[in-house]
């Protein structure tokens, strides 16, 4: 079953068509890559799905629901977690506070419970603290949990972005260039973490330049100038001449 599906998705900025009639789908449980040269429309696609931008035409379906005109917080509520390419953080919060804040949706206490510090709320907060530590341990951030997020190295900040997205308990995790700016060790670690997440049953969409990511992908879509030019397995993609031409400028 397709977890996420777009049909005829189009986005125009003035006269410029950034996403052109794009049909795209992710099967439940797979790790899918979205690849394309700079300016291909990858980030725009990301922002359309997560509700930051409204499409000019077309439909987005997630989990059998139409989310075409949903707002970002509604999309998050439905179970789509995301990271950002420029990776903004709650810089004045510690690492642990960042993740705890991200448990905004689950488990949920009513405003009344929160304000009057009821037992339900206190129990929820205890559970949140435990789950947050679990996520940090899983992603290897447990030793820096009390550092301010803005003081972390770039690599740790990227991983913190994933920790925050995981705290929303997503069914679909969307990573926007997660490997950008990481050192080789961090990349190895990240790729291991992603395959771990897939084993836990989370569907993952990765927008990425770095070809190391191909090893863990189940399937790949390649877009160029807002149009899909290839869809298939990473192995087939390497053989495909159109992809090679657009992406690598001819022969590899």
């Amino acid at each position: 079953m397709k977890l996420l599906e777009t049909s005829g998705l189009t986005k125009r900025f003035g006269g410029l068509t950034v996403i052109d009639n794009l049909d795209f789908g992710i099967e439940e449980g797979e790790v899918k890559g979205l690849i394309g040269p700079n300016g291909a429309g990858k980030s725009t696609f990301f922002n359309l799905v997560t509700g930051v931008l409204l499409p000019s035409a077309g439909k987005i379906k997630y989990d059998n629901r139409d989310i075409t005109r949903s707002k970002p917080h509604q999309v998050a509520k439905m179970g789509i977690g995301r990271t950002f390419q420029m990776n903004p953080l709650f810089g004045d919060f510690t690492v642990l506070e960042n993740v705890k804040a991200a448990f905004h949706l689950r488990p949920h206490s009513s405003l009344f419970d929160i304000y009057f510090n009821s037992k339900v709320y206190r129990d929820n907060e205890k559970q949140i603290a435990e789950s947050a530590e679990e996520i940090l341990a899983f992603l290897g951030l447990i030793n820096v949990r009390n550092e301010l997020a803005k003081n972390l190295s770039h690599g740790y900040q990227k991983i913190l972005g994933v920790a925050r997205a995981l705290a929303t308990r997503p069914k679909l995790l969307m990573l926007d260039e997660p490997l950008g700016g990481l050192n080789p060790e961090e990349i190895d670690f990240f790729i291991k973490a992603i395959s771990n997440l897939r084993d836990q049953g989370i569907t993952i969409l990765i927008v990425e330049h770095n070809m190391q990511v191909l090893d863990i992908l189940n399937s790949v879509s390649v877009i160029s100038f807002g149009q899909k030019i290839f869809e298939g397995t990473p192995g087939d993609m390497r053989q495909n001449s159109t992809v090679a031409e657009t992406y690598f400028g001819g022969v590899i």
Partner: protein, 325 residues
């Protein structure tokens, strides 16, 4: 072990509030002078205003309309008390709710604005509200609203009523800030994009902060109306809103106690300076410049500044020792 440490930390947090509260409680024992009691009531009235402005500021928005919402609470309560003869308990609550509801309704169209643009919208809104109050007949127009029945006849009763009101309001707003609601608001202020990606509705939380802050603005306005018995729009213009902002920023906008300290000091300086009144404005200006240049975190940031300086010295000493070896 950790528990006692927490307790010690909490105790240290309470001490400044306890000192300020104690000072306000014993002021009447030192001066029976009606003028000075009035000054201290004026401080408490503005303190609630400035702290509630900071509650709105938590969501990342600077509002220039806060003085106008205080005016709305004041006028609504004043009119209810004067023309309809409602008892003080009802008028106080009605003034607070009126300011709260109007702020949410008028804030709704601007809820998507951020930063400077929100500031501009609130500026227009604040000025517009004052014009409307001036134009209406029921508010007494530019002549002002006179002869509002007062709540207590004795200045002491008024004074202690304000002490209790301030304690209750500050506790309520403190709880708001240090619950998960406050954490969510601070997250929203740091990055609206990230906050919405974890499911925070930006509009809802911004309106929540606005409504909650304006409730206390209306409440303090209403209480002051019933105490002063006279209202004039000249007291509520843009300057008033800007002073509330200055109390907050000079006191330290990152700490709850910031606007509390800011209000006390910057209302008291010109009052104390009255005996050499020619220099009082210089005193205020000098104090402001000192804070702006030397203490960017505001007055409430001084302890942090000292602590950081100390730690730095320690590190330097250590490294010097290292070289000696």
């Amino acid at each position: 072990m950790e528990n006692t440490l927490d307790k010690k930390k909490n105790l240290r947090k309470i001490i400044p509030y306890a000192i300020i509260l104690l000072a306000f409680l014993i002021v009447p024992a030192f001066t029976g002078n009606i003028y000075w009691l009035g000054v201290f009531i004026f401080i408490m009235y503005q303190m609630i205003g400035s702290v509630s402005l900071r509650t709105i500021f938590l969501s990342g928005n600077i509002s220039f309309a806060h003085g106008s919402f205080i005016a709305m609470g004041a006028y609504f309560a004043g009119i209810l008390a004067k023309d309809l003869g409602f008892p003080p308990g009802v008028t106080l609550l009605a003034g607070a709710l009126f300011a709260c509801v109007i702020s949410v309704i008028t804030g709704f169209p601007f809820v998507r604005l951020r930063g400077l643009y929100y500031g501009m919208a609130s500026l227009f809104m604040g000025v517009a509200i004052i014009y409307v109050i001036q134009a209406l007949k029921v508010t007494g127009g530019s002549r002002g609203l006179l002869d509002i029945p007062s709540m207590f006849s004795s200045i002491y009763a008024n004074y202690y009523f304000f002490v209790i009101l301030t304690v209750v309001c500050l506790l309520a707003m403190y709880r708001f800030e240090f619950s998960r609601i406050g954490i969510t608001l601070r997250a929203l202020a740091q990055s609206p994009e990230v906050a919405s990606s974890i499911g925070v509705s930006e509009s809802f939380y911004k309106l929540l902060a606005l409504g909650f802050g304006s409730f206390f603005a209306g409440l303090t306005g209403a209480a002051f109306a019933l105490y002063s018995t006279v209202l004039s729009t000249t007291n509520y213009g843009l300057t008033f809103s800007i002073w509330l902002l200055m109390y907050m920023m000079i006191g330290g906008d990152s700490k709850f106690i910031g606007p509390v300290i800011g209000t006390v000091i910057f209302v008291l300086i010109p009052e104390i300076g009255r005996s050499f009144s020619a220099y009082a404005p210089y005193l205020t200006a000098a104090a402001m410049l000192v804070v702006a240049y030397l203490i960017p975190g505001g007055l409430a940031g001084i302890p942090d500044l000292i602590r950081r300086r100390k730690r730095k010295n320690k590190v330097e000493n250590l490294s010097e020792g290292g070289q000696a070896i």
